[in-house]
């Protein structure tokens, strides 16, 4: 699997699921926290990539 984006989505999903399950007790809260973490990781990375786009090396 060589796609950067797929790795970003998958890695974020693993980390989000882990912390969602670890830090919250109720299933709904686990989903909410997991989704927030996933969105923050993926969104943050894409935002950073977008900001860096005008400045290649």
């Amino acid at each position: 699997m060589g796609s950067h984006v797929l790795h970003l989505l998958l890695y974020s999903a693993i980390v989000a699921a882990f912390f969602g399950a670890l830090l919250r007790r109720r299933a709904t809260d686990q989903w909410k926290l997991g989704a927030s973490i996933w969105i923050a990781m993926v969104g943050g990375t894409l935002a950073l990539a977008y900001l860096m786009y005008p400045f290649p090396r």
Binding site: I14, A21, L22, R25
Partner: protein, 163 residues
């Protein structure tokens, strides 16, 4: 363990001293991700975390992640921290080291003239050169660090601070 007493305890309060079962669960949880929770009767939680940690570990191995070796000559502290992140996953790390280096080793030999020094360094460099290695390393170290964090969860469950 008295379940009713545990349930009535206010959140955040300190429970009884760790029992032998908690210590055993900590050890088993480190060696086999998820097993500590299962021993404390959190079977679903244990299986879920086991799947996450071992899944991440498997992705790391298949993507040629860096199975770190402590290097006394270059950045000994940093390389030792990398070894800790790898070793966090327990027995699976032993298997990975045997698979990658042909031996269960955690450090490069101090003597650069030793035959295993060049061999292991070569293997480490070859894996690092792989395009996917940076992803593999992230998965591997994340698996180890997640499992180490789970030990705190096991501790809290064993102490009665968490259900």
């Amino acid at each position: 363990m008295n379940v009713a007493a545990e349930a009535s305890r206010p959140p955040g309060s300190v429970g009884p001293s760790p029992t032998g079962l908690t210590i055993l669960a900590l050890l088993c949880g480190w060696l086999v991700p998820g097993l500590g929770h299962i021993l404390l009767r959190r079977v679903r939680r244990g299986l879920f975390f086991s799947a996450l940690v071992l899944g991440s570990f498997a992705l790391g191995v298949t993507h040629e992640g860096r199975v770190a070796l402590r290097d006394e000559r270059q950045a000994p502290f940093l390389s030792a921290m990398q070894v800790v992140a790898n070793a966090g996953v327990g027995l699976a790390d032993l298997a990975a080291r045997h698979h990658v280096y042909g031996a269960v080793t955690y450090a490069l030999p101090n003597d650069p003239g030793a035959p295993s020094y060049e061999a292991w360094l070569g293997i480490l460099r070859d894996r690092t050169r792989s395009v996917a290695s940076i992803y593999g390393t992230a998965y591997l170290w994340t698996a180890g660090l997640m499992n180490l964090l789970l030990l705190f969860d096991i501790w809290d469950i064993g102490r009665g601070r968490k259900q």
